[in-house]
Symmetry: C2
Subunit: 320 residues, 2 copies
């Protein structure tokens, strides 16, 4: 026996009846006639072999199975709408609002490079930026307040997919007269006993740098936690200690003639991976992949190592 499968039209009819609890009004809302709706629901019940709706002339109620199936039908119809939206987004890629959250240790160094490129190549896109720490960004991402987050990977957040973008080394910033100043392959162990200045709690870069310090045997100057890398670098210039910076920050934070020197570590060089994160259910994956390409294209050429582009054939190109 061949089992007839439910039809999308039938599912829409059922959901409509469930919503309105009234065949006539549901039919009007679905722009079909009442008998059409009636027979659609009846056909669904026939193919499923179960009564879904209790009809009396006075009221329309769902049976227990009916409730179950209505819930699933809503899911199906929503997913079909999603498919249409995915296609629509792909037809007009990278347009409209994108709510992007960025962590504070990336934003000031990457955005000045990204924004002009993006505006030039995708004038239709409007970035709505938000700067916050990782935990905030992930919460807002899951809650739907953000479309996309630019942060350090991995986060192992269920339901969130990540696109790796680049790896950036950590470098050592010291006063110019410091013994380690300007070194080119400083071993981690050279940090032992040094006073290292770090960000305040909640910054992921604080945790990453702290790991390095622990391994190296350095100690944190805990009384001097700063709110930004900028402040920390000022403090280093003031002779209060030394600090680690992610490579991308060096150009902006360590200027000439400020009495500062940058040293690089010997292998294995401590580093972190930066990438994009989005809800796995997002209908705009194609957009996010394109944006990832733009970020990679906007990267400073030297110190940052691009992550390989993961998948598939990037068939979608700019429209126009």
């Amino acid at each position: 026996m061949a089992k007839p499968q439910p039809t999308l039209t039938q599912l829409r009819a059922l959901v409509g009846v469930a919503d309105h609890r009234h065949f006539g009004r549901a039919a009007a809302a679905l722009h079909v006639s009442q008998p059409t709706l009636s027979s659609a629901v009846a056909a669904l019940e026939r193919t499923l072999g179960v009564q879904l709706v209790e009809r009396t002339t006075r009221s329309v109620l769902l049976t227990g199975v009916g409730e179950q199936i209505v819930a699933r039908a809503r899911g199906v119809l929503g997913a079909v709408d999603d498919i249409a939206e995915v296609a629509m987004r792909a037809r007009a890629p990278l347009t409209g609002d994108i709510r992007l959250g960025v962590i504070p240790t990336v934003a000031p160094y990457l955005l000045p490079r990204l924004l002009p490129t993006l505006r030039g190549r995708w004038p239709q896109v409007r970035l709505r930026l938000r700067e916050a720490q990782t935990s905030t960004l992930l919460a807002e991402l899951r809650g739907g307040a953000l479309d996309l987050a630019l942060l350090a990977l991995p986060n192992d957040e269920p339901g969130v997919t990540e696109i790796p973008l680049y790896d950036e080394d950590f470098v050592l910033v010291t006063p110019a007269e410091h013994p380690l100043a300007g070194g080119s392959a400083v071993p981690l162990a050279a940090l032992a006993g040094q006073d290292v200045l770090l960000l305040e709690d909640g910054h992921c870069f604080r945790a990453q740098a702290l790991d390095v310090c622990r391994e190296a045997g350095a100690r944190e100057r805990a009384t001097l936690r700063a709110a930004s890398l900028s402040t920390i670098v000022q403090m280093v210039a003031g002779g209060l200690g030394l600090t680690l910076l992610p490579a991308a920050a060096v150009g902006v934070e360590v200027g000439e003639g400020r009495g500062l020197a940058v040293a690089t570590f010997s292998r294995p060089v401590p580093h972190r991976r930066i990438g994009l994160a989005y809800r796995a259910t997002s209908a705009r994956v194609v957009d996010w992949d394109l944006l990832a390409q733009e970020v990679r294209a906007a990267l400073p050429g030297t110190d940052l190592e691009l992550c390989p582009v993961p998948v598939g054939n990037p068939k979608v190109t700019r429209s126009g």
Copy 2:
């Protein structure tokens, strides 16, 4: 402009092509002719306005958008199959295998009452029982190795739905000659300084009883952790201390003439809630509701307080 929506047939066609990477074979697998399949995919691309498949005479590839949409289409088709299964299950309620996990502090006291009732009223059902601690049960439930778990609530497990069944009070079991023996409204504070025997780590009832002890100021005899309530009661009879039992265990564990006495607490009486847990995506919710009714019907009449039946109209009755 009215947008034509994708059809289930079209989605099936697309998924088939994605699976086989070959129109002819996909058509055979779907039991349609090759031109039909071809035109279905073409129609889908037309309604979505996006190219989904790269066709050459030599190979068939998916575009980026195509991959996205295939993934979602699989979800849609799976959900539709689920709907059919929900209906099928409702047509033949409570039949077939049910893999039920039960925690050790419930199983020996509830199952002897439940099993005969169940066999009598639903002879077609076959329970495959498994006794394990909460964490194991929940892991197996999520992994699909179990259909259903009978344990203490709440667990706040994402993706897992819980049906409350009954609340059971904790009672105090002491040697017959103990000062608290047989009391009828013992305040928790009376436990202060007493030696209480508890289960070994991992049992949820251990944690629950330990909470009571902490609040009451009792101390655990940590050198005597037991693997079962049965063992603990033996130890109490041997004068090694006293213990807490969930009410349902009293009848089985505390017999006559074994030198044991049962005392009840004053209000607020410590208690725990027992219920069923299942994957929120399960297609057999109707079955689980029915089984919950059977558990309630099988309950010992006196000490356990039924939880209110939550929802809906239990339209489904026994078939036959």
